[in-house]
């Protein structure tokens, strides 16, 4: 008996020593922390020789800064989640092992199973640097109950900018003193929406094919497509039929829609479950639709948002292999489905979508179908693949500032756009100076 115990002890000690430890940093808060922990534990069960340390490292911004500090100190994590607009910075930093290299060495991995739209975002110069993980799009949510009350057909959401303005006028209720009791629409004051509406019209943000065929040298978004959107925003705000939030205020926008202070909301597809629950609890009927676009615009598509997983250099071979195993696993259909069900980010693979379809999932959750179809209908051009800009965070801030100035009456839509393009070009050129 004792001998058996000793043997067991020895074996388990050996196993413990044989465990490869990897660190996984992510920026998903709230219930997602639990979900990721659970998924990691499932991975560890299937791979007893690997230990994954999951750590919440703050917002996307905090996570990037923490990564920078760790890299400079020589103690980077193995796997880290970075937001999509950090792609160029990560590539330029030369600190990650491109996923493409790992795929080449791994014949079991079939990249063809992934949704091309998603791959197209994260492939730069034909190379896939990071593993797509949490992807989202914007869609239009609307309150069918309020539509009915305003005399609008709840099965006919607005499809053009012109219709949108008209609907908002009908849906806005003001009191005797002119204060807003209910407005037509809201969406977070975020550059993401600008980028989406530009891509919807198949127009670019920066030159060199939106940064895809080479480093962008200037911003080129002062075009009619962008002007249409700016003018739309300006008109809606001026007439008081839209409520504006402060910069990047997702919560504020959601809050307005949930409390039925606005009849329409443009937000991320990752909010579908939240909106479905909220509609039920607050007694209104939820509708979803594609984003409206200008009548005369060219057909474009929506751009992927969210984040991806990067594997960082500077670790021994066995740890890298373990990290690759983990990243691969997180992209497998079961995990993608679990992640989708738990968060609302859509699954990045075709076979996952197929499985959900056969399960009757999209019949039960038609809103997720709306999001998926909008993505699938997107024409694949450099403009809809998403821009690759090193100074993206700064460019976003410039665009948001321009929008704020426009809404506050400081600049006309045309002037604001012109200013934003000029400033964005400056930022891009400044960034490029480092790599000349």
């Amino acid at each position: 008996m004792r001998k058996l115990l000793i043997v067991i002890l020895l074996v388990s000690t050996i196993f413990a020593f044989a465990k490869v430890k990897i660190q996984f940093w992510h920026a998903m808060g709230g219930w997602r922390i639990e979900l990721l922990q659970k998924m990691a534990e499932e991975f560890m069960k299937q791979n007893p020789d690997i230990e994954v340390e999951v750590q919440y490292t703050g917002s996307y911004r905090d996570t990037l800064n923490k990564l920078i500090a760790a890299v400079k100190a020589g103690t980077p994590p193995h796997v880290v989640q970075i937001y999509e607009i950090g792609t160029q910075v990560m590539i330029d930093g030369d600190i990650a092992i491109p996923i493409e290299d790992l795929i080449k060495k791994d014949p079991t991995f079939d990249i063809g199973k992934f949704l091309p739209q998603v791959l197209n975002y994260y492939r730069v110069n034909g190379k896939l640097y990071s593993m797509p993980f949490n992807s989202s799009n914007p869609i239009l949510y609307y309150n069918k109950t309020l539509f009915k009350k305003a005399g609008l057909d709840p099965e006919k959401p607005p499809r053009t900018f012109e219709e949108l303005i008209e609907y908002c006028r009908k849906l806005t209720i003001k009191d005797e003193k002119g204060n807003i009791v209910q407005a037509g629409i809201t969406w977070p004051l975020h550059s993401w929406f600008f980028e989406q509406f530009v891509a919807l019209q198949n127009a670019p943000l920066v030159d060199n094919d939106n940064g895809r065929s080479g480093r962008p040298t200037k911003a080129v978004f002062n075009h009619e497509a962008a002007r249409r959107f700016f003018r739309l925003w300006y008109t809606l705000s001026k007439e008081g039929i839209m409520i504006n939030t402060k910069k990047e205020d997702w919560t504020g926008a959601r809050q307005l829609f949930i409390s039925q202070k606005v009849a329409m909301l443009i937000s991320s597809t990752s909010d579908v479950k939240l909106m479905m629950d909220a509609a039920k609890e607050n007694g209104f009927e939820l509708g979803t639709a594609f984003l409206p676009k200008p009548k005369e615009a060219e057909q474009g598509g929506v751009v992927i948002g969210g984040g991806s997983l990067w594997i960082i250099k500077g670790h021994p071979k066995d740890e890298i292999e373990a990290a690759w195993k983990f990243v691969k696993w997180m992209a497998e259909p079961e995990q993608q489905i679990e992640w989708h069900l738990g968060t609302g980010y859509f699954p990045v693979r075709k076979d996952a979508v197929e499985e959900l379809l056969y399960k009757g999932y999209y019949a039960e959750y038609p809103h997720h179908l709306t999001a998926l179809l909008q993505l699938l209908f997107s024409v694949q051009t450099p403009n809809t693949r998403g821009a690759i800009i090193g100074a993206f965070p700064k460019v976003r801030d410039i665009i948001e500032t321009a929008i704020e100035r426009m809404i506050n009456g400081e600049m006309t839509p045309e002037k604001a756009l012109e200013w934003a393009e000029k400033e964005a070009t400056k930022a891009i050129q400044e960034y490029n100076e480092l790599y000349e």
């Binding site: 030369d94 402060k246 504020g252 400081e410």
Partner: protein, 304 residues
């Protein structure tokens, strides 16, 4: 003034030890400061002379270009003027309001202990949480403040998204957060002033306020002297957290102070060289302000 210990004590080792004792006393503080504040500061200041890639794999020496660029940048100039308005307004309001409330608290009216305890709450709440709570209260459509305003005044203000209200809201939240600190110091100072003086100045009709002003405030000037510089330092350097939560510097850079600009350049845009240059500039400005403050401010302080 005090002379210090100059009688050698037979017990303690004599004159030499006496001479080096103050230096020994300073060692713990300076050890920490030099290792963990000076060294990082010097390192950061050095970075101001470079253009640096986010991950540090490219470093180009640019001399004073970062500084020159800042002064040619209308955004930066804007942040300087926002800072001046923000700091001066917050300073004046906080100072006078805290003085006023301290006087009221000093009257030891019923419920005084409760007020004093509750008024501390803003100081304990972290800036991020404070900003979040005020954002809720100031929500234009479903917030409590506008609910109250629309019921009683029939107006609906978009507090955080329009000019000039965004700045008002920010100053308000800042004052709110700093009041307890000031009130406590003023309150303590008032304990030392004889009650009769306080009472007589408070109740003599229309001149009560002027009297309080001309007599009591000057008596508290050493406290004021301390509070003003400490408040300025706090508004200059600590305000980025509350700005990030409440207005994100908007609308259109309207509430972007120098420290918020620095914070964005350092953490959101990874423009490390420029952020370092900005910290050098702030350091120099504060050094000048403090020197001027001590030189000229101290003259107006009435020590007993």
């Amino acid at each position: 003034m005090k002379k210090g210990w100059d009688i050698p004590h037979p017990f303690f080792g004599g004159e030499e030890v006496r001479k080096i004792l103050p230096y020994i006393l300073l060692i713990p503080t300076f050890l920490v400061i030099i290792l963990f504040i000076y060294w990082p500061a010097v390192y950061s200041f050095k970075l101001s002379l470079y253009r640096i890639a986010p991950f540090g794999n490219r470093m180009i020496f640019v001399g004073f270009k970062n500084f020159a660029k800042l002064f040619h940048n209308p955004e930066y100039i804007n942040s300087i003027s926002v800072t001046v308005i923000y700091v001066v307004s917050s300073m004046l309001i906080t100072l006078f309001l805290s003085f006023f409330i301290a006087i009221l608290l000093n009257m030891k009216l019923p419920g005084n202990a409760v007020y004093r305890t509750l008024i501390f709450a803003p100081y304990a709440i972290s800036p991020a949480i404070a900003g979040t709570l005020w954002t809720f209260l100031l929500n234009p459509v479903v917030g409590h403040v506008n609910y109250f305003f629309s019921k009683f005044f029939g107006i609906q203000v978009e507090w955080l998204t329009t000019k000039p209200f965004a700045l008002y809201a920010l100053i308000f939240a800042t004052v709110w957060k700093t009041l307890p600190f000031n009130i406590i110091f003023y309150l303590a100072g008032l304990q030392n002033i004889p009650d009769e003086l306080l009472e007589s100045s408070m109740i003599d009709g229309a001149n009560a306020w002027t009297r309080t002003w001309k007599i009591i405030f000057p008596l508290l000037s050493p406290i004021t002297f301390y509070l003003v510089i400490m408040n300025i330092i706090s508004f200059m350097f600590a305000s980025f957290a509350i700005i990030d939560v409440m207005t994100k510097g908007g609308p259109g850079d309207y509430t972007t102070t120098m420290i918020y600009r620095l914070f964005l350049d350092a953490f959101a845009f990874q423009r490390t060289g420029s952020a370092a240059a900005q910290s050098v500039i702030m350091f120099i400005i504060m050094a000048i302000v403090t020197i001027v403050y001590f030189k000229f401010g101290e003259r107006r302080v009435h020590y007993q």
